[in-house]
């Protein structure tokens, strides 16, 4: 199926996952708007990250289904899901510390067939594409240094560049603004809008409300492992259930 035929994107149906006694996701049925910038917010421990991990195949659900553009991806291996067009970043960003910045991007290049796998990873087109992303992130001058030697913010940008290099059409970002300075938040927000303009769908878990409100089209509020509200920023801001969930009033 092609993205044109349908606007259906990432959806979950009665998704449930519990650890020991704790139910992290409690038969959550959510659908995110394809082609938009979606936000997933909620208090700590409300199951946002667990949802990310189940959706991307890192954790198998106890029950329920996950579909992407109408295709069932429940319990599929993470790399299969990634190749289906879902890219993700990790809470406390994760890069490949002992690899150069450039290699961090080249890893994401999809090789097909034995020949491509054994071909040199130093492919000119790919390197150019990678440099393109590094420039957009403004870290192209670090191309040759090992990722572990980058600053925190630079690593965040590097991770994002890596995700984009895999050319996903839906990108899940787990706290992109976590622990970075306002200027950088600004930059990341801008990038998200920009990429969305080029047709990329985003799903963002974020605590920084300013950022969420400023860049998102659609917001889903999570509490105790299930959605309690959703809608455009304006509506959510004034929703009593949300206030309750956050402030416990």
């Amino acid at each position: 199926m092609t993205s044109a035929t349908t606007a259906r994107g990432l959806e979950t149906v009665k998704l449930t996952r519990s650890f020991g006694g704790v139910t992290a996701i409690d038969s959550a049925t959510v659908s995110f708007q394809h082609g938009k910038v979606n936000a997933l917010i909620g208090p700590n421990g409300s199951g946002k990250t667990t949802l990310f991990n189940v959706v991307t195949g890192m954790i198998e659900p106890d029950s329920g289904r996950v579909t992407y553009r109408g295709r069932d991806i429940t319990g599929k291996a993470p790399h299969t899901i990634a190749r289906a067009g879902l890219g993700r970043s990790f809470q406390l960003c994760r890069v490949f510390p002992r690899m150069t910045v450039l290699d961090n991007l080249l890893v994401a290049v999809r090789a097909r067939g034995l020949a491509e796998h054994l071909a040199s990873s130093r492919d000119h087109e790919e390197i150019e594409r990678a440099r393109g992303w590094l420039e957009r992130m403004g870290i192209d001058h670090l191309e040759r240094s090992e990722a572990r030697n980058l600053s925190w913010g630079q690593q965040k940008l590097l991770e994002l560049a890596g995700v984009m290099m895999a050319d996903p059409d839906t990108i899940l970002l787990d706290e992109p603004a976590g622990g970075v300075n306002p200027a950088l938040i600004e930059r990341i927000g801008g990038l998200v809008r920009e990429l969305n303009g080029q047709g990329k769908t985003f799903l963002i878990v974020e605590h920084n409300m300013d950022m969420v409100m400023s860049i998102c089209d659609h917001i889903v509020v999570f509490d105790r492992g299930r959605p309690i509200a959703e809608g455009p920023p304006a509506a959510i801001r004034s929703d009593p259930r949300v206030l309750e969930a956050y402030l416990g009033v």
């Binding site: 406390l92 994760r94 002992r98 999809r110 572990r148």
Partner: protein, 339 residues
Amino acid sequence: MLRLAALALGAGLVLSFPALAPNPYMVTVGIGILNYAVLATAWNFVGGFTGYISLGHGGLAGLGAYATGLLVTAAGLPSFAALLAGAVMVAALAVPIGFAALRVRGASFVIVSIALVLILLLVFQSWDSFTGGSRGLAVPRPFPGMPRAEHHTTFFFLFAGLLAAVLLVWWLIDRSHFGLGLKAIREDEDKSESLGIPTFAFKLVAFVVSAAFTALGGGLYALWFGDLDPVFQFSVLTGSNIVLMALLGGVRHLFGPLLGALVVGAGLEYFKLEYGDTPLHLVATGLLLGVVVMFMPDGVIPALSNLYDRLFAPATASIREVSAADLAAKGDEPTEVRR
């Protein structure tokens, strides 16, 4: 350019060794080290790229040796055909083993690798109708009637050739897409999967390739040495020596394991001469392994180059300071910071 020159020089030294060697004994010592270099480099296909530590490669080598020996004695294959066939068989066997060991991460792989050696020892001892058991297995010489000294020289070159082949393949993978994927697995397996790398398949392929080359090493050893005995072929110590060599030299470097083989090989000789009739060499091996793992997990090559950086290129340090704290927060600080 310089690299090529160094490479040529190294190759020249190796190839001229038998001519320079004062007596056949020295050639056998050379063969021993080459053999270890082959095994350590072969091990590095798994240990170096994916970061999965196997203590069972001694067993795979023994398996290769027995496969070759039995194909010659029982199936009557010509020696070198048996060598190749044996390697193929071991590679085939490596698939189910890898399947069991690599489906889940970390611990189970190490456990399986050790268990592999122990079970192979039991099987090859008990199944004596087929393997000869404790009576041993005498593998006929590939070149009957060749004087022993000549026999050694010939095999020295055969081992050198095999080593070259293994190094070449490692180098090819190192620079390939596949290799990049493997290294990503070593760095962060979840992350690599989220980027679409089929980690299980990659790990399995790397393991099988590694097993095949290890088997070739073992098989060539069988053809050279001629006498196989389960007790000596399936020993965990061989495996640990291989690991020690690779780690000591540096698993991220093409020539790391080779260097390690030289150092450790020489070291073992020394200890045997110095403290001959005590098992102190075990203590030495143990301590050395411990020191390497604790203080220079990347081997001597990086350790030295880091030293060089700190002494002559302080520029790089500046970025390090910045990142150190952040990275520490991720509980994945670079070794420099720890020390």
